[in-house]
């Protein structure tokens, strides 16, 4: 049970990373979407964890937000 709660917590945290990075960069979902050439809905779904973007889109988002792929999309504690 504790493990399941931990996984859910980590999953939520990793989802939040993109949202936090976007807010730190002072971008709205629409502005980020325009810069990476997708729709606002797609960004919303990625942040919510309901859509897995392609590697190409991940790279575009990471570049736009000045982050690495690890910082945005890698789940904490699963490096090893």
């Amino acid at each position: 049970m504790t493990y399941i709660c931990y996984i859910a917590f980590m999953d939520q945290r990793s989802r939040m990373k993109l949202k936090l990075a976007r807010i730190e960069k002072n971008l709205t979902q629409q502005e980020l979407a325009d810069q990476v050439e997708v729709t606002r809905q797609t960004i919303g779904l990625i942040e919510k964890g309901d859509y897995n973007p392609t590697l190409n889109l991940c790279v575009k988002i990471a570049r736009t937000l000045d982050r690495t792929l690890d910082q945005l999309f890698w789940e904490d504690g699963t490096h090893e």
Binding site: V38, T39, T42
Partner: protein
């Protein structure tokens, strides 16, 4: 904002492709049902359903051929010749049994030994051509992918 009204992004393209795949499958299965219904329930003449049968055959063969060529996922060199021959024999057997079932049971015709032999040779020839063509496409597709990697 998206400037163009039909500028699909990757998520929308993926969703659209999933819908297309589903609708394609539904269409193919509907056509199969329609063809079988016309042929065996309504007992319509061949001219009434031949176009659907042709369309289905071409469609499925092109689908198989393109899948084998474009994915290059079958490496013929790793499959044993005996396995290919057993597969071919099973394919011929199923085709032959279906042909016999079609004429003897569904259409209620008496089949002589000569007709059975003729039917078997037709199945062997058509299956042979199909296997050769699909095998060639699989080989070319696999070689194409290998070339791309190197």
């Amino acid at each position: 904002m998206n400037k163009r009204p039909f500028n699909f992004d990757e998520r929308e393209t993926k969703t659209f492709r999933s819908i297309c795949t589903l609708m394609y499958l539904l269409t193919i299965f509907s056509l199969i049902a329609i063809q079988l219904y016309r042929q065996f329930v309504l007992h319509q003449p061949q001219e009434a359903w031949n176009d659907i049968a042709m369309l289905l055959s071409v469609n499925i063969l092109v689908l198989l051929g393109l899948t084998l060529y474009l994915t290059g996922s079958i490496n013929l060199r790793s499959i044993k010749l005996t396995h290919i021959l057993v597969g071919f024999a099973l394919f011929v057997l199923v085709g032959f049994l279906f042909t016999i079932f079609k004429y003897a049971v569904l259409l209620g015709q008496d089949i002589s030994l000569a007709e059975m032999w003729s039917s078997l040779s037709t199945v062997v020839i058509i299956s042979g051509i199909l296997w050769l063509a699909l095998g060639l496409l699989a080989y070319l597709g696999n070689r194409r992918i290998d070339k791309q990697i190197s």
